[in-house]
């Protein structure tokens, strides 16, 4: 479903701030795979997601989604294939627009936006039904401005928006990091459900090792712009936090104490 082939990206090349964020990185995702991505600060996790989403062009390599080469496509054109949820709950929704208007914008992801009416009656019914499955009481607040919602509610809404028009790929960029633990757990549970119900292929970055172990069907660990660990299937199910720390120390050659700090 997703093929990242030998992708490299260097920020601020030729300056003292030069940073090699992705080094000849390759990654293949089969349809329906749900991959969690872990790694310390500056490991290149977000850079990987942004490269796939097309936030900026990569320096080399190719990115294919469901067989289509999207390497040269700008961000808004790739959006036809990709649903995204960001770390900042403010980033995924338009605060001064209504809940139904936000959903209607998401429903038209990748479609031509013409002069037909922006939100239809039939759509509203569908939104109401979908919102009621969230159990947040949003189904009665269709005409409320999204800016009135809490961070957790906004992330839940963004998740719904990302999957409304079934994406070939779902990118979750630490989408629970800014939430309190209880809300984060709920939003993660919702993510699991949405991925399972729609049989989505997903990449989820997390800072939390427990979450990375408990969710998804495959786990990759990044370090200095490379994938240093890639575990799937039965092996992933048996994986523990201790294993991860040990293997990280061995592979990255870093002191264990610092890892614990990084992954705490």
């Amino acid at each position: 479903m997703l093929r990242v082939e030998h992708v490299s990206k260097t920020f601020y090349p030729g300056t003292i701030h030069e940073k090699r964020a992705l080094c000849d990185l390759s990654l293949h995702l089969r349809p329906g795979e749900f991959v969690t991505v872990i790694g310390g600060n500056g490991a290149g996790k977000s850079t990987l997601l942004n490269a796939v989403a097309g936030v900026w062009p990569v320096d080399g390599g190719a990115i294919l989604i469901d067989g289509t080469d999207v390497t040269a496509l700008p961000e808004y054109r790739r959006a036809a294939y990709i649903g995204r949820v960001f770390q900042d709950p403010m980033m995924g929704t338009a605060p001064n627009m209504q809940i139904d208007e936000n959903l209607a914008l998401a429903l038209r992801r990748g479609k031509k936006r013409g002069l037909r009416w922006g939100v239809t009656k039939a759509e509203r019914e569908r939104y109401r039904a979908l919102l009621s499955t969230l159990g947040l009481g949003l189904e009665t607040r269709l005409e409320d401005k999204v800016g009135l919602l809490s961070g957790g509610q906004r992330q839940a809404l963004t998740l719904l928006m990302a999957s409304l028009q079934k994406p070939k790929l779902l990118l979750l960029d630490e989408h629970t990091a800014a939430l309190d633990p209880a809300t984060a757990a709920k939003v993660l549970e919702l993510s699991d459900r949405i991925v399972a119900e729609n049989e989505l292929t997903a990449l989820m970055i997390t800072h939390n090792m427990r979450d990375a172990l408990a969710h998804g069907s495959r786990l990759i660990m990044m370090h200095e712009g490379r994938i240093i660990l890639d575990i799937a299937g039965e092996e992933k199910k048996k994986l523990t936090r201790r294993d991860l720390l040990d293997r990280f120390a061995a592979l990255a050659g870093v002191q264990e104490e610092t890892d614990s700090v990084l992954f705490s």
Partner: protein, 316 residues
């Protein structure tokens, strides 16, 4: 001596002028409020609209054709600013200033000199008349108010429709959250182009209306238009909040922007009636706009500090 009858006779003209500037404020509203771009080209496009209209009327074109042509030229001016901004990466404010600066020369070229006079009375707005037709002219103020209101209602209806469509929603989303918009497949650059074009089209239309109202176009007629537009917007929004505490429908909010233009002009009439120096008007306007634009910020700050005090109280 200040005489009240004198004031009352001056008010209707202020209303008519306010409505015309209200149309221009609707244009500014599109960029400033919906697109979140401060577009300074409007000072130029307002005069361009007037210049195009006056020259067409002088050459015998009917009033409505002069209005349409002016709006079309305004759209082109907006596209210029938009292309400078989106394709050449020039910051929006600077792109607007460049267009405005260039338009000064272009407006002089259009008119051949710094001002031109053409009475709309001779030509009529929608049909040939021998005076007292369906005109927007300072010669027949009550009729001018009526025509102005009808045209404004048409513009508001069109804007209400457009911003309810898929494309109009995408344009609003671009202003509200460009990040999200790109992630949802919206071509943010194109939306800015469309918004700037629409906005400047309306501003030029307003310039053409003003030319018909006063019978002349002047190369300096648009000076400070952006500030008057902002004044109309902030006054209108405050009035709207007072009248509709729970928030109002989009069309109502647009109507209040035009009302803001009217209120602004009535205040100007009042200031002139009080025999204050007209040269001070721009200073007053700037102060009013600065004050109203600052209010939301100051309110938020006060709320924040109130919360802080409360939490501090709890801790203590």
């Amino acid at each position: 001596m200040l005489s009240l009858p004198n004031l009352l006779t001056r008010l209707p003209a202020g209303v008519a002028q306010g409505i015309v500037w209200g149309v221009m404020a609707l244009g500014v509203y599109i960029t400033f409020r919906l697109l979140d771009v401060a577009d300074l080209s409007v000072d130029g496009t307002f005069a361009t609209g007037g210049a195009v209209a006056v020259m067409l009327m002088l050459s015998g074109a009917p009033g409505w054709a002069a209005l349409l042509a002016a709006a079309a030229v305004g759209v082109a001016c907006g596209l210029c600013t938009g292309l400078l901004h989106t394709k050449l990466g020039i910051p929006a404010i600077l792109a607007g200033i460049l267009t405005q600066f260039a338009l000064y020369s272009i407006n002089l070229r259009i008119m051949g000199k710094s001002n031109q006079t053409a009475s709309v009375k001779k030509f009529g707005l929608f049909w040939e008349t021998k005076g007292r037709g369906f005109l927007l002219s300072s010669l027949y103020i009550p009729q001018a108010i009526l025509v102005g209101l009808l045209l404004t209602a048409l513009v508001i209806a069109a804007l209400y429709w457009y911003f309810g469509t898929e494309q109009g929603s995408a344009l609003r989303a671009t202003g509200a959250n460009p990040h999200m918009s790109r992630a949802l497949g919206i071509n943010v650059g194109n939306m800015k182009l469309i918004g700037l074009a629409l906005s400047n089209g309306l501003v030029a239309l307003s310039g053409a209306l003003m030319t018909q109202f006063q019978g002349t176009a002047d190369v300096n007629m648009g000076r400070g238009a952006i500030v008057i537009g902002l004044a109309a917007i902030v006054i209108g929004e405050v009035l709207c909040d007072v009248c509709f505490r729970k928030g109002a429908n989009f069309a109502v909010r647009l109507a209040f922007v035009v009302l803001g233009g009217v209120v602004y002009y009535l205040v100007m009439v009042l200031i002139l009636w009080l025999r204050l120096d007209p040269n001070d008007l721009k200073l007053f306007t700037a102060l009013i706009v600065a004050l109203f634009l600052a209010v939301p910020h100051l309110r938020a700050q006060r709320r924040e500090s109130a919360v802080r005090r409360r939490t501090a109280g709890k801790e203590a």
